[in-house]
């Protein structure tokens, strides 16, 4: 399974949703995922992928695709500053 499939499987499991309900383009709002559910899902993802998702990202996840992108970057060890800025709705800090 690729990262996206694994993320969808975990969201489905934690939300007790039937297979096929969670899609790559689903937003948390559409899936009925509230702030507490969101934290629970991130915890499950961290356990599954054995990673730490920074709080700044964790608090701002709003959709499946955002989660997949953030996870991919964290797993690949890439910089996520622009993603943090994106989910916060601000411009990324200027790079020097």
């Amino acid at each position: 399974m690729n990262i996206q499939d694994r993320v969808i499987a975990i969201i489905s499991r934690e939300q007790r949703l039937e297979p096929g309900v969670v899609k790559p383009q689903s937003t948390f709002a559409e899936l009925g995922i509230d702030s507490l559910d969101g934290i629970n899902i991130l915890f499950a993802l961290e356990q599954e992928f054995k990673i730490q998702i920074p709080d700044s990202i964790a608090q701002n996840m709003r959709s499946v695709s955002q989660v997949v992108e953030a996870l991919t970057r964290v797993i690949e060890g890439k910089d996520i500053a622009d993603l943090v800025a994106l989910v916060r709705g601000t411009d990324p800090a200027p790079t020097t």
Binding site: R16, L36, I39, N40, F43
Partner: protein
């Protein structure tokens, strides 16, 4: 000045070892059927005491969707189930305007004990370093109050009370006063606890007050009997719907009993050893509020834990307050059957007292075998007694010396 507001019980709900609804619960008490048995939720083989009054054959998925269960500790599940029955039994319907006058007050001694126990096992035994995010909202002591208010849209006063074995007696008393003094019109009040965990049982084991229950576990708890061996831990919940009298009358509600007196006190003495004068003050306070003379009390549902210290002191307390009437009042300990359900026990016992009024029958003290010279009152041994009950009292005397007493009256 308007007349004093009166408070009546218009709904009862029980989810406990001796019955998963109020009628079964009370029916079993009248039959002197004890629910004490070997613990089945986990393997108790390593414990010196392996018995409890468990809610048997319980599968939470029969009552709650999986997603919701993720947030419900066992004690919250029990509380919700008892609240559902109390509300349904009352037949009450709410308008939106009434919701801010509808409250919830629940007692619990140990809160989310199962969740705490599992969490600590993960950390200390399994070596985990992180816990699931639902741990706090599941384990917190006010979870049951919050979940009940959420499920039924109760937007009024909401409170969690924790005074060990007196928790739900205090909770019902506080709710009684909220209605009496105009803070709310309707309150779901009671208590719930699910303390049968490895950690909690080990903690109680070391206090050396638990009955071992060798042989027949159902006979383990023998309050006021000379051959008593101690108390038995129980679990469950009881919730009562308390309602302002005129409100209940207007809608033609069935009234089980009127709540008329609430007394409380602190021994301010010893952390575990009970006193005579502390509980006596609480009883007198309840009698004073109700305007009832001691001679008018027909039935006392005793704290009656089945420990020597409690049973002898409680007998002295009753003699101190009731004087010569102490020999005429019927006293029983239903803990002999539903065990000591901690923060739920007072609500279970007040429910038994209220149902004794409605059914004109007093539940017995089960397993009574031998008269004790130091406990020489009428403990309604082993057989229910058919008798009209006009005024009943329920005692809770907690560890910490925190005492609470409630009085209910038959409404003719």
């Amino acid at each position: 000045m308007p007349g004093e507001r009166r408070v009546v019980i218009t709904g009862l709900g029980v989810f406990a070892s001796t019955g998963k609804n109020a009628d079964t619960f009370f029916g079993n008490l009248l039959q002197a059927r004890s629910a004490v048995r070997r613990i089945s939720q986990w393997d108790p083989s390593s414990l010196s005491v392996q018995i409890a009054a468990e809610v048997a054959d319980y599968n939470p998925i029969d009552y709650f969707p999986r997603k919701r269960l993720d947030l419900l500790d066992r004690f919250t599940q029990f509380g919700l189930l008892a609240a559902r029955e109390a509300l349904a039994a009352s037949g009450i319907q709410f308008t939106e305007e009434e919701r801010p006058r509808f409250g919830v007050v629940m007692g619990t001694g140990l809160g989310g004990a199962v969740t705490f126990d599992n969490s600590y096992h993960s950390l200390y035994a399994k070596g985990e370093t992180r816990l699931p995010p639902f741990t706090i909202p599941k384990a917190m002591y006010n979870a049951v109050t919050a979940q009940i208010s959420m499920e039924f849209g109760a937007q009024g006063p909401a409170l969690a009370v924790s005074t060990a074995c007196s928790s739900s007696t205090h909770a019902i008393g506080e709710a009684f006063h909220m209605i009496k003094y105009g803070t709310a019109d309707i309150i779901l009040a009671g208590g719930s606890d699910a303390p049968i965990t490895y950690g909690t049982l080990r903690s109680w084991e070391s206090v050396r007050v638990l009955a071992p229950g060798n042989g027949d576990p159902s006979r383990a708890c023998r309050p006021f009997s000379a051959d008593r061996e101690g108390m038995v831990i129980g679990e469950g919940a009881a919730v009562l719907l308390l309602e302002e009298y005129e409100h209940a009358r207007r809608r033609g509600a069935q009234i089980y009993a009127e709540l008329t007196g609430y007394g409380m006190s602190s021994d301010a003495g010893h952390i575990t050893q009970p006193s005579v004068m502390g509980p006596a003050r609480a009883i007198r306070m309840a009698l004073d509020e109700a305007g009832v003379n001691p001679e008018e009390v027909d039935y006392i549902n005793a704290h009656g834990t089945g420990t020597r210290l409690n049973d002898v002191i409680e007998t002295q307390v009753i003699k101190e307050v009731f004087k010569s009437h102490a020999r005429h009042v019927a006293i029983s300990s239903t803990k002999s059957m539903h065990g000591h359900a901690m923060g739920a026990t007072g609500a279970l016992e007040l429910t038994a007292a209220a149902m004794a009024i409605g059914h004109e029958a007093m539940p017995p003290t089960a397993n009574y075998a031998q008269p004790d010279p130091e406990c020489d009152l009428d403990y309604v041994p082993n057989q229910a007694r058919e008798q009209t009950v006009h005024v009943a009292m329920s005692n809770s005397f907690a560890f910490g010396g925190l005492n609470a007493v409630l009085l209910v009256r038959r409404l003719d």
